[in-house]
Amino acid sequence: MNKQDNIQTVRRREPITDTQLLLTITICIFVSMYVLAMLIWGGGFRKPQMLFDMLNDNAFLIIISCGLTIVMITGSIDISVGGVTALVAMVGVMILNGNLGLFNGLIASLGLGEQWRIVFALLMALLIGLAFGLVQGYLIACLQIQPFIITLAGMFFARGMITIISVDPQKAPQELMDILQNRIEIAWLGSPNKKGVMIPARMEIGVIVALAVVFLVYFLLRRTQLGRGFYAVGGNQQSALMLGVNVRKTRFLAHLLCGLLSGIAGFVFMMHTGAGNATNATAAEMNAIASSIIGGTLLTGGVGNVIGTLFGVLTLSTIKSIVTTSGLRDPWWQSITTGAMLCFFIVLQSVVLMRRAKNKEKK
């Protein structure tokens, strides 16, 4: 009797969802990899600054991966994010260094100080991102064109526009970059340098923006009607429609949000590098897709978690740091190991999901 009861309670427990399962796997792998790196290569990995450096370098990637996660949850895809990021960075830098004549005149006629250039750069970043999101969202959601082609065209357009605006690399003036590159110093996480002087851990503003975006998107996906709508549309468009979800609007908003986030990512990228270049953020879209996948988002839609995406980005950059610190100096090893790790993650996920599907069938 007692035993029977036990079985009943065990069965009644809420089963872990696919999203949570994949998220748990990702976090476990990231933590174990980082701990292993600490144990084997020690040195840099034991300093908190290593983690902050990863965040500093990848803040923009975190933001575009968040946008991509939303789009992927609705079962769509956006490969224009890298191009938009680079375009925004280019335009932003050219506003800062005054090579875009239009804004020079605007600032002069309004009698504003040089610092206002930053505000205009930010506004332009949001505007470009929104514009891409609007057009792509409309074409995909309302005209029902395959998202891959539309966003591919978006990528071509953004990359082409960069070279139309300026073929030469651009550099932002130092005094404005000093304002943008204010670093937040965290003394208690500092580490001694070679001379034994404590260096505080440094974090850029972009990281805070990125973490805020992660938190907001998490809130959006978990707690709002729109967020649940993303999952519903990605899971099954037909049933979402029958449940009264406005599929067209939901898909449109997903792409709009993704465009806006890639605009913000472009500004963060500019804050980090202070340079506009045609080759900026190359293959960022593929890195973002890879991060989302490692984080447990499925391209088929309906499954995904933005916290996982954050860990996906960190996992990718940990792999890269491990390769560079482990002495594989030849330039090809970095991407070969990244590919191998990606392969491992993807196969692991698929095996886990396949086993679960089989178990469900048995029940």
Binding site: I149, L152, R159, G160, S335, T338
Partner: protein, 361 residues
């Protein structure tokens, strides 16, 4: 007369998906006629070796599109069978090219035998990588774009690694014969290779049931399996065939330049190949396919690029204009616009618009 009309209606009903790529090419032709009629002139000049060769923009389009056409043929099969796209074709072609050069370099003097050996070797390697992609897709049930993301990430580095971090050159009359002209034949060799590949695929579909099987697997994998089709094997085979296409494209590309540069060889061609498949009217979700559509789509893309070059657009800016044309094309071909057009036509005829209920989805 009436029968004739009916037959033509039947023809367009069967080939409606070819409409978009044909419209694209037609638009480009009309545009170029107004812009500069000499765009279409084809002349005969003598090349460095003193052989007469064909020259002109049309030849440049046909010649330059060769790799793209070959890759889009393979991409059509993969798209139809698996409902996804292979984004690693450029990287795979780079690997194949590296293996080809590696074999040529290792054999001392370049003779026809080493060239054939190199080609066979790179075909095998590319098909092996194709099988790797294919097994991830078919056995592990991973979406093609994610499965091929692996090779997309590391493929070009593998190519770099094969050549030990160098970009070796191969100069030999045989290689330049593959890349440009065979002495005595005025048509560029890559065009001949495309024709050969097209004939091979046509024979494959004519004398085997492969085409039907691929469509069946793409439309409904479960149903295909219940009908006794080995759906795992068919998917795998489509990826292996794409691998072979990559090898051919890689060899052509290496022979054109007589050197292998792993970073720039056929860069971004995967996007163009997918685009060719889509412009050709094939669904990117798999199922029914027309290889002819993809081929015409690929030529349309190349014609667009050459037109832009002829208009003195810098090569770095071409992408932006290309994007605009692509968007116009896909908007014309989108289901919503098509439906609106159908309704408009029916209104013209005087009958009431028919609501099929499809708009809701």
């Amino acid at each position: 007369m009436k029968q004739n009309q009916k037959a033509s209606g039947q023809f367009w009903a069967n080939n409606s998906q070819l409409l978009i790529p044909l419209i694209a090419i037609l638009l480009l032709v009309i545009f170029n006629l107004f812009r500069d009629p000499s765009f279409f002139s084809v002349g005969i000049t003598t090349n460095n070796n003193g052989d007469p060769v064909l020259q002109g923009n049309l030849i440049a389009i046909l010649n330059g599109a060769s790799e793209l056409v070959i890759l889009s043929m393979g991409m059509t099969l993969v798209t139809a069978a698996s409902g996804g796209q292979d984004i690693s074709v450029g990287a795979l072609a780079a690997i194949a090219g590296s293996v080809f050069v590696k074999v040529l370099k290792s054999g001392g003097a370049i003779s026809p035998l080493t060239v054939i050996g190199g080609f066979v070797m790179c075909c095998l390697v590319a098909m092996l990588f194709g099988a790797f992609n294919g097994s991830l897709v078919s056995i592990f049930n991973i979406q093609p774009m994610i499965a091929t993301l692996i090779l997309f990430t590391c493929g070009r580095s593998i190519a770099y690694w094969i050549n030990g971090g160098a970009t070796p050159t191969v100069s030999s009359p045989i290689i330049s014969a593959i890349g440009s002209f065979i002495p005595g034949i005025p048509i560029p060799t890559p065009i001949l290779i495309v024709i050969l590949m097209a004939v091979l695929f046509a024979l494959l579909f004519r004398f085997t049931t492969l085409g039907l099987y691929i469509q069946t697997v793409g439309i409904n994998q479960g149903a295909a399996r219940l009908n006794g089709i080995n759906s795992v094997g068919i998917k795998l085979l489509s990826f292996v065939l794409l691998g072979a296409c990559c090898a051919v494209a890689g060899v052509i590309s290496v022979s054109r330049l007589s050197l292998i540069n792993h970073e720039t060889l056929l860069i971004n061609i995967e996007m163009d190949a997918i685009l060719a498949v889509a412009i050709g009217g094939n669904s990117l979700g798999g199922g029914k396919f027309r290889m002819l559509g993809s081929v015409i789509g690929a030529y349309a893309i190349q014609a667009l690029t050459i037109t832009l070059y002829a208009m003195k657009v810098p090569s770095t800016d071409v992408k932006a204009y290309k994007a605009v044309v692509i968007i116009i094309l896909v908007v014309i071909g989108s289901p919503v616009v098509k439906e609106a057009f159908d309704r408009f036509r029916k209104n013209l005829r005087g009958s009431r618009p028919v609501h099929t209920g499809k708009e809701a989805s």
